[in-house]
């Protein structure tokens, strides 16, 4: 795993990134043509073909058995939950769910003790679909098939990489863990769009309940097929497959680098070699992998130990009916709810980023509860997308009504913003209801008289500043807010202080 922050969820164009994205779309008259292959580990309790636990981070080789070790005489039996999750993914991606079968993909590499991987080949379970991105673009889905994951190899040697290693160590806990590989059409035209696709797909995979979406644990792994062509051309150029993309940031950087590299080659009259390249996160560049003497011949043949899969209509209907709302629908619902509850004529643009964060982290219920309780949407979204999001794991277990109560206390002036944030942090860290926590912290409401007195004291203690404020120097209001906060140890509400100052000024 690399140094990037893999949990980075922001696949949307951030302020200041638009120019880079534009440059990426048409670099000197060239455009990128990108298709992504995403491997998603399914969140089942057990492996695809045996009862060994599917559990990340366990002691090496503690979840292994004759089936996933490929011992003679062992037979695979397909995990019903893995099939169901694959169907959920296919349904969410608008695919046709078809009768399917399994093949053996034969190769010699110590990450698979059987010397083959069981995968779906010419008859995948999910075929043809699409994924709509927040910017309105649509990326086609070729297929989303079931296969088993491989073991994890660690290469010994000074460099830590394969070259120069004297031996390799293998952990088969991951061998046989269920995967769905989602292959997109080459519909992606920029690094930014690739990031947006991967982010949206991640949100969908999590929403289906099939994946935890943790890129840092390898639950979601992305390979990018990148080629470039003259803008306006409809021919596909020679593509390179880029591997080792461990975060959305790496995905974007690798495509930008690869595009620049290929354009430089083609613009100077050269030709791009079709090859697999490795993204070096430290150097920020792609490097050709050791070239193979001959193309792999996987000798696919039907897996004789498994019978075909043929979900009937009732199974498909049941899966479709059990799917919850996908992120796009949830975002739309929150935006509508917030807009209807807003006093202003329209929702501020900044709120849509907060809505996206809330949905990414699955904190919708908090915001819905708060807005339904009459809290201003901008406050509900801000506290959810900032303070609650800072401890997202705890926030997803927070009682929505307690969250709404807390924001009600803040909106009603019983707690200052600073106090409300402190109470929320405590609720996230140790649980508890907001009133009790506020009392325990001594956050008694500052009475109107007490507040007025504190403001008057701050004014008389700082006559020069008061004079300047009276003369119209508005920024000094914040100075007085600071003074009052200090005197009341943060119990005052900033807005109430400013209002009192205005009243004193007359």
């Amino acid at each position: 795993m690399g140094p990037d922050d893999p949990l980075e969820l922001d696949g949307r164009p951030a302020p200041g990134r638009a120019e880079i994205s534009e440059a990426g779309v048409t670099l000197d008259g060239w455009e990128a043509v990108v298709g992504l292959e995403v491997h998603c580990e399914l969140k089942t309790a057990t492996k695809l073909f045996c009862g060994c636990r599917n559990s990340f981070g366990d002691e090496p080789n503690t979840n292994i058995c004759p089936v996933c070790l490929g011992l003679p005489g062992s037979l695979p039996v397909l995990n019903a939950a893995a099939v169901e999750m694959a169907m959920r993914i296919g349904t969410a991606l608008n695919c046709d769910i078809r009768p399917s079968s399994f093949h053996r993909k034969n190769y010699f590499y110590p990450d698979m003790p059987k010397d083959y991987q069981i995968s779906q080949y010419d008859e995948p379970i999910n075929v043809g679909g699409w994924l709509d991105l927040p910017d309105g673009s649509r990326v086609g889905i070729v297929r989303a098939h079931i296969e088993e994951d491989t073991g994890k190899t660690t290469h010994l040697g000074a460099s830590g990489r394969i070259h120069g290693a004297s031996s390799s160590l293998v952990d088969y806990n991951r061998a046989g863990v269920p995967l769905v590989e989602i292959v997109s059409e080459p519909d992606i035209r920029s690094a930014e769009q690739a990031r947006a696709y991967a982010a949206e797909l991640r949100g969908i995979l999590v929403a289906t309940g099939a994946s935890d979406g943790r890129m840092e644990e390898g639950s979601m792994r992305v390979d990018a097929n990148v080629s470039v062509r003259r803008v306006g051309s409809d021919r596909l150029g020679t593509r390179c497959e880029v591997k080792n993309l461990n975060s959305l940031r790496s995905l974007g950087r690798a495509i930008e680098y690869e595009m620049r590299r290929q354009v430089d080659i083609l613009a100077s009259g050269g030709s791009v070699a079709q090859e697999t390249r490795h993204f070096d996160e430290v150097k920020g560049m792609t490097v050709a992998m050791r070239s193979k003497e001959e193309a792999f011949d996987y000798r696919y043949f039907p897996e004789p130990d498994l019978v075909p899969l043929a979900p009937d209509d009732s199974w498909r209907t049941r899966v479709a009916a059990s799917l919850g709302e996908m992120p796009a629908a949830r975002r739309a619902r929150l935006v509508e709810l917030a807009a209807n509850a807003s006093s202003g004529p329209h929702l501020e643009a900044s709120l849509s980023n907060q809505v996206a964060t809330v949905v990414d982290l699955g904190l919708d219920d908090l915001v819905v509860a708060a807005i339904s309780a009459g809290i201003d949407p901008s406050l509900a979204l801000a506290r959810a997308a900032n303070e609650a999001a800072a401890n997202a794991e705890a926030a997803s277990g927070l009682d929505p009504s307690a969250f709404a109560t807390l924001l009600g206390m803040e909106a009603g002036g019983k707690l200052s913003a600073t106090q409300a944030k402190a109470v929320l942090a405590e609720m996230l860290a140790h649980g508890g209801d907001p009133e009790t926590i506020a009392r325990a912290k001594g956050f008694e409401a500052l009475g109107d008289d007490e507040l007025a007195r504190a403001v008057r004291e701050a004014v008389s203690a700082n006559p020069a500043e008061w004079e300047r404020y009276q003369a119209g120097e508005e920024k000094l209001a914040q100075f007085f807010v600071g003074q009052v906060m200090k005197a009341t140890r943060g119990r005052a509400d900033g807005k109430a202080v400013v209002a009192e100052l205005g009243r004193l000024r007359g």
Binding site: T44, A45, T46, G51, C52, R53, E59, P60, N61, N63, I64, C65, P66, V77, L78, N79, A80, A82, V83, P99, S101, F102, K105, F108, Y109, P110, D111, Y121, D122, E123, P124, E147, T150, H155, G157, I162, A165, S166, S167, S168, L169, V170, D171, Y172, V183, N225, T276, R290, F296, D297, Y298, R299, F301, P302, P304, V307, P308, L309, A310, P311
Partner: protein, 115 residues
């Protein structure tokens, strides 16, 4: 695995009239990581060709009205519930391996990337 197509079949490029050329036999041996001598290559090429001829007898059956099948049994959806079962004892398993270290199987240095 992004380009599914027909499973590849060796041969056809040698120009020989044989069903399985000597170079096909060498290719199959290389795929199976078998180090065989020239004499053995001739022997196995002949034997493999006999196997192919035998299997080709199936081609003489008229199957135009038979749908392609992935499995001879009239079964679909053979599934097991997603319930954990006991795994093997690690020490016992590793004791069967030629070498191990840190609870992992130790294998000779890997050349090249994973396919």
């Amino acid at each position: 695995m992004s380009d599914p197509g027909k499973p590849s079949v060796p041969g056809g490029s040698s120009g020989e009239s044989r069903r399985l050329s000597r170079s096909d036999a060498a290719y199959v041996a290389r795929l199976a990581r078998l180090d065989i001598s020239d004499e053995e290559l001739d022997l196995y090429a002949d034997q493999l060709e006999a196997v192919l001829d035998y299997a080709a007898e199936v081609d003489s059956v008229d199957t135009t009205a038979v749908a392609p099948m992935a499995h001879p049994l009239p079964l679909v959806n053979v599934l097991r519930p997603d319930e954990p079962a006991d795994s093997l004892d690690r020490d016992e398993v590793l004791a069967q391996a030629p070498a191990s270290e840190d609870g992992r199987f130790m294998v000779p240095r890997i050349l090249g990337e994973a396919p």
